[in-house]
Amino acid sequence: MRLIERLLPHGTTYDFIRYRLVAFGITAFLIVGSLVSISVKGFNFGIDFAGGILIEAQATGASADLHAMRTSLGELHLGEVSLQEFGNTGRDVMIRVQRQDGAEKAQMEALAKVKETLGSGYTYRRVEIVGPKVGGELVRDGVMAVALSLLAIAVYVWFRFEWQFGVGALVSTFHDVITTFGLFSITGLEFNLTTVAAVLTIAGYSVNDTVVEYDRVRENLRKYKSMSLYDLLNLAVNETLARTILTVSTVFVTVLALLFFGGEVLRGFSIAMLWGLIIGTYSSIYVAMPMLVYFNLRTGKERAEDEQAEAEASQAP
């Protein structure tokens, strides 16, 4: 017997829709929890959005002396300066300096001071400075990109399916986006430009998942005229279950590879993607699908289309 038979179930009859109220509860909890954390705790914005200076320094000697660095940098009075050791050689230090008051020039002066203080004992592997002006613009662009993509995706689904599907896709994608933001807020992971990229990818992936299932619902609506919507939705989830498991696994392993081997820069991105993969799969099955129960999908238009299709089919030889 092939592996495929053991791993991938077929003809399953799990009653996914039955647990919809529990699922709605979980969904509501996740959304509210995320919103509360976002409004109370906020984000740990990286310098892309908050502005400021980020320096990845490497000690030329055996190891970096964090204590001495902290003391000497503290004396510069540049506001909040955070130091973080990373990697496994003990030589790499990430230095973050908060945005300086005043115009763009103040940031450059602060950088010069930091470099002067650290002296020749360190080489700079990465230096990033974002002034207040650009930071604000990046926030605006990020918000625009996320909002527009949510909207565009919903409109596309509406256009390809029915408006009910569009609403379902919008709500479930919104859920994924909000909870991913929530994850970043609660864990205090750095929120930067790559996070926005991750969120958009998650939105795209989750909608991908939702579309696969909606597609099956649409097909089944035509195929089984008398089946109740409840059974029909369950059938669609079960029919696509094997595909869901397999696709999630393949994307999952690739993201794991990114997480463990992609290096420091991609870490936040990979964590977000991993979360998005799980939450996106969940929301497709437990948010996007059960919502359709409450819509009257067998509309007049649908019926008319079906009848026309049937008439055409009977005419064909």
């Binding site: 527009l148 094997a242 393949t250 992609g262 991609l266």
Partner: protein, 511 residues
């Protein structure tokens, strides 16, 4: 289909070569260019202070008005620039008509409004201001390019962004401090006569004669005074320079300069008429030195001596050669990546993608056997095409771009999973091999298409609103998805059909 695949392989092939080998290839056949985060280098986002240009224009309009009215002996008061306009009052009612005529002709871009009490306002039209700003940005771009070219950096890229921004990308630059300090100077060189009717002490108390101004010294040490009172009138400007070099005079670093013909004549005239007076050499509103004019300088060349170090003299001569910026530049954003971090990122990205690829390949073969292998083949062609289109389009590969490739692999395989699962289902419903395959590809296609389009929408917006590395992610993700519509559906279909025919299979090995 075969043609596309072959083209893909040809365009992707240069990526296997080393940098030196690739240099021998024609320009249309080059490996994909790496982003600054991978090859190391410096990215600077500069902003041209266009407001400065407008203020500057108003100041010079004030001077023109002053010169004109004096020449015509028209009495005026309250002349000055306020906000975006120049205002003044003509005192004698008899002069008003004449003044209006003359002021109207003074600058065709400046509109004149005159009131009955003799108050007049000159204002530039919005169109004129816009044009002025635009040309300042264009000019800045050119000057920035010249200054950076003088430094001899490898393959710098200098581009305009938006209305008043300039993006400078300098591959291989480890420390942009020198470049930043060179770009941070407008390097406007002017020669003014000293105003000998007053002293700097008097002027610092607020008593500056009209038509003169108080300027600070470039350096306070070495016995130089705090400041100088100089005539506002520019006798000769740096825009008339043709060459400048750092050299030595009496063993000290100085900067020599040479004027063009017009500049030489003006300089000669000034030095002849004002022999015995002092001529201030002013750089960016600071007085470098103010030597006494001992004799007329007619050859059109001269020397600027300040208390320069060798490096300062070299930088100043470079700035003078490249020309002055029309307005100050401000660094809004800087991102510098050292070459070793870039190399580390390439290594990490390569390992992550190869590992991801290996895992996907193994997973697909373990589950689908030969069909899985065929899906893997299409996936590899997908990657080849992706690399080829990146190279062909001259797109830049960044670290997030590599993440996009890894992600594409996961999603491209999804298309095959959808197809295979569909075929499995159709076969279970009693269809024959050919019809199950047909149905599998046909029915799965609508789903795959929708799924791809929605992700492409997100990718497109990411490209639109993203910057730098994030854009690279959007590019690889979108190109990879487009390629997968071709490979995972069309190419894979051909492979699977050929295989089934060749092996004369009666059932698909799916269940």
């Amino acid at each position: 289909m075969v043609v596309t695949s072959l083209l893909g392989i040809i365009f992707a092939a240069p990526n296997l070569l080393s940098r030196e080998q690739a240099d021998h290839l024609p320009s249309w056949l080059q490996p994909v260019s790496l982003g600054l985060d991978l090859q190391g280098g410096s990215y600077l986002l500069l902003e041209v202070d266009t407001g400065y240009v407008v203020r500057e224009q108003l100041t010079s309009l004030v001077e023109s008005v002053r010169t004109l009215l004096r020449k015509e002996k028209i009495k005026y008061s309250d002349l000055g620039a306020k906000g975006d306009q120049v205002s003044l009052r003509i005192i004698e009612a008899a002069d008003r008509e004449k003044a209006r005529e003359m002021l109207r002709k003074l600058d065709p871009d400046a509109g004149l409004e005159a009131r009955d009490d003799g108050a007049m306002v000159l204002k530039y039209s919005e169109e004129a201001v816009r044009r002025r700003k635009l040309s300042a940005v264009e000019q800045s771009l050119e000057i920035v390019r010249r200054r950076i070219d003088e430094l001899g950096t490898r393959e710098p890229s200098i581009q305009r962004q938006g209305e008043d921004r300039v993006v400078v990308q300098l591959p291989g630059v480890k420390d942009p401090d020198r470049i930043k300090s060179l770009l941070g100077k407008t390097a406007k060189l002017t020669f003014h006569l000293l105003d000998d009717t007053t002293s700097a002490e008097e002027a610092s108390k607020g008593r500056v004669p009209p038509g003169s101004m108080l300027l600070p010294s470039a350096e306070r040490e070495h016995g130089m005074p705090e400041g100088y009172v100089v005539r506002k009138r520019v006798d000769v400007g740096g825009d008339m320079l043709v060459d400048s070099k750092a050299t030595y005079s009496d063993g000290r670093p100085v900067v020599s300069f040479r004027f063009n013909a017009a500049g030489a004549k003006k300089f000669g005239d000034t030095t002849r008429e004002s022999s015995g007076k002092f001529l201030a050499i002013v750089l960016d509103d600071k007085v470098i030195s103010a030597p006494r004019i001992n004799e007329p300088i007619l050859g059109g060349s001269g020397i600027i001596s300040g208390n320069f170090t060798v490096a300062q003299a070299q930088d100043l001569s470079l700035l003078l050669r490249a020309g002055a910026l029309p307005a100050p530049l401000q660094v809004l954003e800087e991102r510098t990546v050292g070459p070793d971090l870039g190399a580390d990122s390439i290594r990490a990205g390569t390992v992550a993608s190869l590992l991801g690829l290996a895992l996907v390949i193994v997973l697909m073969i373990a589950i689908y056997g030969t069909l899985g292998l065929l899906a893997d083949l299409s996936l590899m062609l997908n990657l080849v095409l992706l690399l080829a289109s990146l190279s062909f389009l001259g797109a830049t590969l960044t670290l997030p771009g590599i993440a996009g490739i890894v992600l594409t692999m996961g999603m491209a395989v999804d298309a095959n999973v959808l197809i295979y699962e569909r075929m499995r289902e159709e076969q279970r419903n009693g269809r024959t091999v050919m019809s199950a395959m047909q149905a599998g590809y046909d029915r799965a296609f609508a789903t795959i298409f929708d799924a791809h389009v929605t992700t492409l929408v997100a990718g497109g917006l990411l490209f639109q609103f993203g910057t730098g590395p994030v854009r690279g992610f959007a590019v690889t993700l979108s190109l990879g998805l487009l390629a997968s519509l071709f490979t995972a559906v069309l190419v894979n279909r051909m492979l699977v059909f050929s295989w089934v025919r060749w092996r004369r299979l009666k059932t698909l090995p799916l269940s």
